[in-house]
Symmetry: C2
Subunit: 192 residues, 2 copies
DNA sequence: CGCGACGTTGATTTGCCTCAACGATTGTGG
DNA sequence: CCACAATCGTTGAGGCAAATCAACGTCGCG
């Protein structure tokens, strides 16, 4: 249960056994069933969440009622509205389980306490925030300068196997195109 | 020269006179002439920059040779490749002056030193990073879910008066459309 | 079995691009 | 200070990428 998290952290920082014990105490396990919500738009996000099993989507609904998917999260990814978590502002995202999920969560006091006991975690979360920022910048560029075909191919490279787990119309909502059009693109590329 | 920076900081954190003195010592003034570059793609960004006068653009060039503008920066804004600055990775951006500029800059050692002497600056820069992240997320949504008309109207609300300072084709590169098409949009909305 | 959720396909429309030509400004060197 | 060249913005015609609307097929599931 915690081993995936420890492996994940170890990619960026090195941990002693003692620190691993502190870490496992700081993160609380949680289960979520398919179609349950981790967060609703307008709520304040009180936890950051690491996914150890399952798949979720973070999406917003604009004033025209259209859903746009900010992020898919599968095993070994983080999910949450970081801005809301850090500032206490109401979240602009919904986060919903697309499969039954196993999660590990830490809340704000838990994180502050962890920073005191394992200071290198500050470094880790700064890296996470930076990566989220970069990923977002890259998506701006890709949305502006690539065709739907190119974005689709980049998507299946970034999220391999996710096509088998997530319905097509959700992927379309991530790519910013209609399900019909994604269906045609997929047909064109089937068998690569 | 420094008063704009102090006013800017004071919006987020409160400063004593002593801290203001430390701050003005930490930031170094710099001038840049129109068409000069603050940063080239591939370089490591060694400074974060606050604009006290003038206007710049941060843009990237993709493999098709197209320019895309990540950000305009005018008085009272920050500009730089934060990712490169924080990680030491080569920058993916060019930053170029669109007018003669007056800037205030701080480098990495200067910032670390400032954090020690004025710890509340940590809080300030965390807020700046978060805001940059949020702005980027909003641009993803707007690029995916809005028409060019809507993005144009949102743009002139976000950057009032900038139309008088920046050529149309640069604004088109920011919005992700062709100059010709922006010209038609503008015609449609002239006189609001 | 029958219903709802999901994916596909066709016909049509529209938002935006491309290419090309032409004014209006700006600026620069002689 | 003028002449000429860049630079920039506008306009028109035509084309393509992607949306829309509508119909139908298929599967999983209560």
């Amino acid at each position: 249960m915690y081993t995936l998290l420890i492996q994940h952290l170890s990619k960026h920082i090195s941990l002693t056994n003692e620190e691993i014990i502190l870490l496992t105490a700081a993160f609380k396990p949680r289960r979520l069933k398919k179609k349950e919500f981790l967060l609703h738009q307008g709520e304040v996000s009180r936890q950051e969440t690491f996914v150890t099993q399952g798949c979720l989507r973070a999406f917003s609904v604009n004033d025209k009622g259209e859903e746009h998917i900010a992020q898919f999260a599968v095993e070994d990814w983080w999910v949450g509205d970081m801005y809301s978590f850090l500032t206490g502002a109401p979240s602009r995202l919904y986060i919903e389980a697309l499969e039954d999920c196993q999660l590990l969560q830490i809340d704000r006091p838990g994180l502050e306490d962890l920073y005191l006991r394992v200071p290198k975690m500050e470094r880790f979360f700064r890296i996470i925030i930076q990566n989220a920022f970069i990923a977002s910048q890259n998506r701006v560029l890709s949305a502006m300068s690539q065709t739907a075909d190119e974005r689709y191919l980049a998507f299946i490279r970034k999220y391999p196997n996710i096509e088998q787990r997530v319905p097509l119309y959700q992927i379309a909502a991530y790519l910013g195109i209609t399900p019909e059009f994604l269906s045609r693109i997929r047909k064109k590329f089937q068998g690569k």
